[in-house]
Chain length 333, copies 2
């Protein structure tokens, strides 16, 4: 677990998009962070209190979270000056960057000297077991997509928030680096060794109260040939009781694969459900989450109505309309 | 590539079963090995010439292949004495053991001192790319199973042998440790990082002559919840033109999963084929390979006839009857 509260490190972000990890944390865990740290020339701004390291420590920040992509795949000398100061003054550091904190001798030395932790969420920190397929207590829902990056993480977190507001027992289970930094825990599934993928999903969705729901973050797509194996491991390791289908209707081809078309929602349903029923024969498809960010309000509403009529399932854009109807559908499982 | 000819190291095998890697190499590449090395108390025997290291070197052996499981997960001092002698006298060593040759300082030192190679086929030696899904030239066939360990490797190698005998262009593409030691090359797919699984399969089945067939070694099963992600990566990374369904009819539950039943061959066909057609719309199921080792000749023949009638596909046990009819079916694709 990564300790909160956070100080969000925005570095020298060239624009707001470079700080999308910080944006996710701010949007989804607004109480997790007490302030932001911006270097000279930083073009991103979360609208939070700007803090020096001293101010952050005085305010009680436990972990500096790198909320921004680095340039050129290196952790610059300018960044390191700030990171070493944070370690020297008693904070941990968490990062989802490809180049690992632990591979930087000066950061390792400062962490050791001060008894602090370097959290590299890019790679696993656990030796996961091989999946055993044993039925676990509690309930689980998994978001599966027609493609990568169609809103699966957003759907899961939005449902968790709605469920917690209703007083339901719910835990978003992060399976990607951004989700792990947002929630402070999870499995970086894309970095797990093949034989242990499904086992790692079992590990992060353990036995629980019968009325508790795990909201498992989806990854990839059964129809995305680069990553479908990861999706398959989520479907079998997660042994979901319910599936939510996720879709982005304006996409013209599979992400990164110009020769591949997206499947229809009906094809996704007919492919994913029988596979999920291998691990959990009671699994049902309960709802559809559509990312309509590239549609007007009228287009979006017309599209959602059309899909709902065709598929016979509650169909919403949780960003526009909230996740309430998806949670209602879960409640009926 | 692992250099041939081999000396098969049987060590102090407690029984023949412990030497099943050596048995596979001897069965499938009888010309690859010039002799066997047995220590005192060895209970396995491949019926090959027993050789000392000196005799093996004089005969021209290039690589000592560890063809036996080790006891207790350690490479014993008695083994090391032989292995170091082999390195000192100019041979490489190849191993599929979980405990790696490269983690043994005395073996590393001897290899370096003599300019020899330690081949640990348990783990990848290549940085595989992320799969791009681009259509490759040449043809590919993949064996998919109702369960793990139902004869997928055997089927692929038997088909390759038959095809080469007919003068067809064919390459068995190993995706597991035993297959790699048998053929000298391949990808240890179960040890690849999740994001690169499908890419590693693309890597080992590259562009080829239009009339060349890759016979891709299958792994796991879409219906085995521990390993289905690996199978999925083979189906999409391999972009097969043809699938062979593999089955072992006497099995009472999925291997290692007592609560899970095997699917029918029809269910396997209806699940695997649409998934394969995502990557290769022209993919067909062309035949069925049944492992009838636990049935009498009469039972086996009756079963094969029944399946052939039900499924409308050539159905054979390649061990009993050869792979000829499966190759005929490929030839028609």
């Amino acid at each position: 677990m990564i300790e909160t509260p956070y100080l969000l490190f925005l570095g020298d972000a060239p624009d707001g998009l470079a700080a999308k990890v910080a944006q996710g944390i701010k949007d989804w865990r607004p109480d997790a962070s007490l302030g932001q740290y911006r270097m000279e020339g930083c073009k991103a701004d979360m609208g939070m209190t700007d803090m020096t390291i001293d101010e952050a420590v005085a305010a009680g920040c436990k972990t500096l979270v790198i909320g921004v992509a680095n340039r050129g795949g290196v952790i610059s000398a300018a960044w390191k000056e700030v990171l070493v100061e944070a370690l020297n003054k008693g904070m941990d550091i968490a990062s989802g960057l490809h180049n690992l904190l632990r591979d930087e001798p000066d950061l390792v030395a400062a962490a050791e000297a001060n008894g602090r932790s370097l959290h590299d969420v890019r790679i696993p920190s656990v030796e996961y077991p091989i999946a055993n397929g044993t039925k676990r207590s509690g309930k689980r829902v998994l978001a599966v997509g027609t493609d990568c990056s169609v809103g699966k993480m957003y759907t899961g977190i939005a449902m968790e928030r709605e469920m917690l507001e209703r007083g339901m027992k719910a835990s978003f289970r992060a399976t990607g680096q951004t989700g792990i930094l947002i929630t402070g825990d999870g499995v970086p599934l894309d970095a797990v060794i093949a034989d242990f993928m499904a086992g790692s999903v079992e590990y992060v969705t353990p036995d629980n109260d019968e009325d508790h729901w795990d909201l498992i973050e989806g990854q990839g797509s059964l129809f995305h040939v680069s990553y479908s194996g990861v999706t398959m491991a989520l479907i079998h390791g997660g042994q979901p009781d319910a599936l939510i289908l996720c879709h982005e209707p304006t996409r013209t081809h599979m992400r990164g694969l110009p020769e591949y078309q997206l499947p229809s929602l009906a094809t996704l349903r007919d492919t994913a459900l029988p596979l999920a029923q291998v691990a959990n024969p009671a699994c049902k498809v309960v709802g559809i989450s559509v990312n309509t960010q590239h549609m007007s309000e009228d287009e979006a509403n017309a599209y959602l109505q059309q899909v709902e009529a065709e598929m016979g399932l509650p169909t919403v854009d949780p960003f526009r309309h909230g996740a309430g109807r998806l949670v209602d559908a879960l409640d009926a499982v």
